[in-house]
Symmetry: C2
Subunit: 418 residues, 2 copies
């Protein structure tokens, strides 16, 4: 405790100088030794001390940014495990932002007797929820498969479970604030702040070093290509170029080398003996390669046959080429090859022609209709099928009985399934 106190005194000194406008670079040099001895985990404690001494919360909160500026050097040592723009660098950078905001959250929570801090917590909690669908989601969806493929499944699964805990508690926090439950909100905010910082530590010390030891450049290239889908938490990654060919998880059949094993964090080394890499070959004999993934012709046929709506495709020559699915309007094999103009009652053919013309010109992207058939409500949708360059390849008709869909109310989530 005396050590903490002396650290606090020194930190207080530095913070005051920063606040007075002293040059950050100068200060960093002076404080180098001190900074090396302080772990980010101690910061909340020191802050609490400062607060108890009557320093204004807002003052301290504003200093949070300066903390990070001060600690950047220490944190950067980790981020610089990879060049700027590299997905690993971005992950570390986001964790800096997360740490900063988690600290702010704790600070506001501690000073919740001030009315305005409730509003601040609310805004911040909304911000923090974005971590769930950027940083965490990216790890869960994009990065974990590379570890799973190497047999490391327990660590991703534990992290995911803990991510979800944070997601839930942030939601609860917002609910407590909404209901004006001040004490419970305070408690929850403190809990979330602590879980967030705990997660930063787990990731920085276990997950990221593991990724660094195992993932090849090509794998990072694939991650880089896809990470934009999810977005980032308060970070805008720079470009990062590599000549390596992107490698997806299902393309890996790698052994973990002795050298890699040595570089792994102790926690991972321990479990590596029990892991079994996933060597399943994904592409099969006869597989058709699609944009994302593979299907056998028989799978394609049965997917189309089992889907709960009818689909019919006419090609760019206006010929019916294919139909399948659960149909509402009867259709028989005799229609294959038939010009679509001959498939409609003569009086509506001119509309069919107009729709096709609009699709071919690119002036329309759908034509939809809805009709009642007895007690059923039927939705009929025509969409042009275009290739990635926008070239017209044909038109798809989808017919769907939406009677039951229209009646759905409320929610039924996966955990409600019986």
């Amino acid at each position: 405790m005396s050590e903490l106190l002396s650290k606090k005194e020194k930190l207080k000194e530095i913070l005051k100088k920063l606040h007075a406008g002293e040059n950050v670079e100068e200060l960093k040099k002076k404080a180098k030794e001190l900074l090396a001895s302080i772990s980010p985990m101690e910061i909340p404690l020191i802050e609490q001390e400062l607060m108890q001494e009557g320093i204004d919360v807002e003052e301290i909160a504003r200093m949070c940014d300066l903390h990070v500026e001060l600690f950047r050097e220490a944190v950067a040592r980790k981020a610089e495990a990879a060049p700027e723009g590299h997905p690993l660098h971005t992950l570390y950078k986001e964790n800096e932002e997360i740490t900063k905001d988690a600290e702010k959250l704790a600070l506001y929570a501690k000073a919740m007797d001030k009315e305005e801090n409730m509003e601040r917590i609310k805004e911040l909690a909304k911000e923090l929820r974005k971590i769930g669908f950027t940083h965490y989601d990216r790890e869960e969806t994009l990065i974990f498969p590379y570890l799973e493929r190497r047999g490391i499944t327990a660590v991703p699964s534990t992290l995911w479970r803990k991510h979800d805990e944070i997601r839930i508690k942030l939601r609860q926090l917002l609910q407590f604030i909404e209901k004006g439950l001040k004490e419970r909100a305070k408690e929850k905010a403190m809990e979330v702040a602590s879980l967030l910082i705990d997660m930063v530590f787990r990731e920085n010390n276990i997950l990221y070093p593991t990724l660094r030891a195992l993932l090849t450049e090509g794998e990072w290239v694939a991650i880089k290509q896809q990470e934009g889908e999810f977005g980032f938490y308060k970070v805008k990654p720079k470009e990062w170029k590599s000549n390596a060919k992107p490698v997806h998880p299902y393309e890996i059949y790698a052994e973990i080398t002795q050298e890699q094993l040595q570089q792994l964090p102790e926690e991972i080394k321990m479990i590596m003996k029990e892991t079994k890499p996933d060597r399943k070959k994904i592409e099969r004999e006869g597989d058709i390669k699609l944009d994302v993934g593979y299907l056998l012709p028989q799978e394609i046929n049965e997917i189309f046959r089992n889907i709960p709506f009818g689909i019919t495709f006419i090609d760019s020559d206006d010929r019916v080429r294919f139909f399948s699915g659960h149909r509402i309007f009867r259709r028989t094999a005799s229609v294959v090859g038939r010009p679509v103009q001959l498939c409609h009652p003569p009086k509506s053919v001119h509309i069919v022609e107009k729709i096709l013309k609009a699709f071919k010109e690119g002036s329309r992207d759908k034509a939809d209709f809805w009709i009642k058939m007895g007690d059923r409500f039927v939705y009929i949708l025509y969409i042009p099928i275009r290739d990635k360059n926008g070239n017209y390849m044909g038109t798809l008709e989808i017919e769907q009985d939406i009677t039951e869909l229209k009646k759905l109310e409320g929610e039924k989530r996966i955990l409600d399934w019986k």
Copy 2:
């Protein structure tokens, strides 16, 4: 008119004897000559005469069945152009039933001052509407393509237009009855009866002889295989067996021979000079043959990419094999090959396992969920994909934004398109 009167007298005689219970076979023998000289078109006129003489309408209506019994021999001469169970035989047989009911309709309409006849017309009109989606629909969908392929498109198109007229007028008739518009209902009923009989004549004298002259046994086999999809008007066709391989319209590249040309009705012969057979080859290089029709791999890819919902397929080993479409939940290529159990938040994995188990055992055929995402209403459906023998091949997830679908009201039909 005097000839008609004398026919009427003779017919009246026969009908009275029939009504008195005389043997049908005996009567038929006696009336053979008379029957040969009466065309079904004359029957309504004769009936009208009988009515004017005060014979009860119900009496005459009940005799309608006997008419057909009497005229069967004459009509059978046409039906027997093909063996029982043959699709052509069935078409002729349905036209007998249609004639009978059209006559009844005219009879009831003529005697509409009797209150109960309004109800009878209503019931009969409802029955007659079935012609539209059995007999006519079968011709339009299943049979016309065989003529179109040979370049005969004008005749099918004219017939279809006239079928649609009948469909519309039958709907109008029912609306007039619903609204109690007696005079207009009467007029419409007479009109419909006359159009129905007119259509029987066109079909029996032009369409069917043309089919008989042109279609090969294999084509009839294909029609026979599919005709059950549509059903029949008051006829239950027997089995008809043939060893010929079914031939679909898109498999025909036939020339019309001189011999066939000779057999065609005059109306068709006249237009044959201007027709050009449709020789488009339907199966292309690289086509994948599906249950009904063909698609190129690129078409399959683009269809999946353009559909307005997200789909994801996991195979029978629970591996994600493919996803596409307009997604609501983000998914990246990293998921391909990933065991589905690892794709879900750990806390809901046990439900995923339960759903898959139920699908594999065959105890469930869907699992659906619906959630709100901001102002969007999202429907998530899991269905097992099974082959035709019921073997589990995998599970398909469909995610659909149904916000707009839920708001649809009323109808928007193809003719409303702008």
